[in-house]
């Protein structure tokens, strides 16, 4: 058994079986992470470069830890401190890195489609760690793993994605993944932050936060991405928080228990209030823990396809 893809560019390209395989393998790696020695020798012959053209804390540390737990050699690259600022092109940078015998590329870029473009030009497996406003596949996989761990499955579960859907690659990857796995998805936020025609992806649309929370089993609250909003899309952060911020009062007013998720970093007091983020409803820190296991699974499964790569 193996994945049907040679790169992880997005959830869009994955089959349901691929997702199941990744989640199954991740469970085994999560077990490894509970052992006295949290490291296995599997990828000791593999070198991985983490190319980050955009800032990141969680994702970069999580990937690096996953690589180290698999005994791979890692190189970290941040665009801000490299020759990119001297004008080197993406392909040149990556080919230079690959000529030093690097096997896999983990990459984050602010341009949508950058990893897809690279995958057509270089002979190494590429893992998309977030490209612009397109996809963030490992985040969606770890979200799915965390939901499955808490609720026992994905099929038939009701998941709400709340907030800045327009600029969120986490939202798009989650929509692809959850609909493929048979979950019901509803997006909720101010009309200016919800893309037109999104219902064609098989999701419901709501503008009423309370109704959405009442409907869902899981609320995945997304960050307001001010750095990608080039024009004002709502009047103020305070007003956003009043209408679309998830607060303790709101969660307590529901007649059911819901699970709260957030991909981080949290804008406390904007999309999510501290009294919810730090409550028993929240599985935000479980998401971070599961992220390492899920990324180990992705690296393991793609490293096994190294020899099939031809450009």
């Amino acid at each position: 058994m193996s994945l049907s893809v040679k790169h992880l560019l997005g959830i869009k390209d994955l089959k349901k079986e691929d997702i199941e395989l990744i989640l199954h393998t991740a469970a085994n790696f999560k077990d490894v992470l509970q052992r006295p020695i949290k490291k296995v020798p599997t990828l000791r012959d593999t070198t991985i470069v983490n190319l980050f053209y955009e800032n990141s804390t969680r994702t970069r540390i999580s990937f690096e830890l996953a690589e180290k737990r698999l005994s791979a050699d890692t190189i970290n690259f941040a665009a801000s401190s490299s020759s990119v600022s001297k004008g080197e092109t993406l392909i040149d940078t990556v080919n230079n890195v690959l000529s030093m015998k690097v096997d896999m590329v983990v990459m984050r870029h602010s341009a949508t489609g950058a990893p897809h473009f690279l995958s057509r030009h270089i002979p190494a497996s590429i893992i998309n760690a977030g490209d612009g406003i397109n996809e963030h596949p490992t985040q969606a996989l770890l979200d799915a793993y965390s939901i499955k761990e808490r609720l026992g499955g994905l099929e038939g579960r009701k998941v709400a994605l709340i907030g800045d859907i327009m600029h969120s690659r986490v939202a798009l990857s989650n929509i692809y993944l959850l609909t493929k796995m048979g979950a019901e998805v509803e997006v909720c936020g101010p009309p200016t932050l919800i893309p037109k025609h999104i219902e064609h992806l098989g999701v419901r649309v709501s503008y009423d936060l309370k109704k959405t929370l009442q409907w869902c089993d899981v609320a995945n609250v997304l960050r307001i991405q001010l750095e990608r909003q080039h024009k004002p899309l709502f009047s103020s952060l305070r007003e956003y928080n009043l209408y679309y911020g998830v607060s303790r009062q709101l969660v307590d007013s529901l007649d059911k228990e819901i699970v709260i998720m957030h991909p981080g970093p949290i804008n406390r007091g904007v999309e999510l209030n501290s009294d919810v983020a730090d409550s028993g409803h929240s599985i935000i820190l479980d998401q971070v823990e599961n992220g390492v296991a899920v990324r180990m699974a992705v690296l393991y499964l793609l490293a096994g396809k190294k020899d099939e790569l031809v450009v």
Partner: protein, 176 residues
């Protein structure tokens, strides 16, 4: 095709292997059983069952070990990736006498990986190996079993197939 074990014969051998274990480890107060995933588990299940009968229901510490992440052939055969199964060892192996159980010992490479994996759960006092079938003359690393059901001389082209009632509908071992 040659039959190495039928159901009746297998029962006698499992009883003997169990008796040998009890002879060496008495009440199993400091010994633990580790079955190798995936096919060694059926044998380990049987042995643990028989031990419990012998030791009048004394609890036996029994774990399952998956060696996928410790294999030495990762990436040597393109397109044939091993998918892991469950590892469940919910006790420490520090200072324990570990009895590692697998169905067939052939090149010895799985056991080598198994030893690597075991060390990640603590430092055992000793490790012994119990196998049902030992394929002689085909070892690639210096590993020998301590308890053997049957030693078989076989050619590389041949295959040993171990069938279990719980999985395959009958107890039988054949040389193909």
């Amino acid at each position: 095709m040659k039959s190495l074990y039928n159901q009746q014969h297998l029962k006698i051998t499992l009883d003997r292997l169990t008796a040998e274990l009890v002879e060496n480890h008495r009440d199993f107060s400091n010994a633990v059983i580790i079955g190798m995933q995936p096919r060694g588990i059926y044998l380990a299940d049987r042995i643990v069952q028989l031990l419990k009968e012998q030791l009048a229901g004394r609890p036996i510490q029994y774990g399952k070990l998956d060696i996928t992440f410790y294999r030495d052939d990762f990436n040597t055969k393109p397109g044939e990736l091993h998918i892991p199964t469950e590892t469940s060892i919910d006790f420490s192996l520090d200072g324990k006498n570990v009895i590692l159980i697998d169905d067939v010992l052939y090149t010895g490479r799985s056991i080598r990986s198994g030893l690597d994996a075991l060390l990640d759960f603590g430092r055992p006092k000793s490790v012994e190996l119990l196998v049902l079938i030992d394929r002689w003359f085909s070892r690639e690393v210096p590993i020998q079993p301590d308890y053997v059901g049957k030693t078989v001389e076989s050619a590389t082209a041949q295959k040993v197939k171990v069938l279990w009632q719980e999985n395959d509908g009958k107890d039988e071992v054949v040389l193909l």
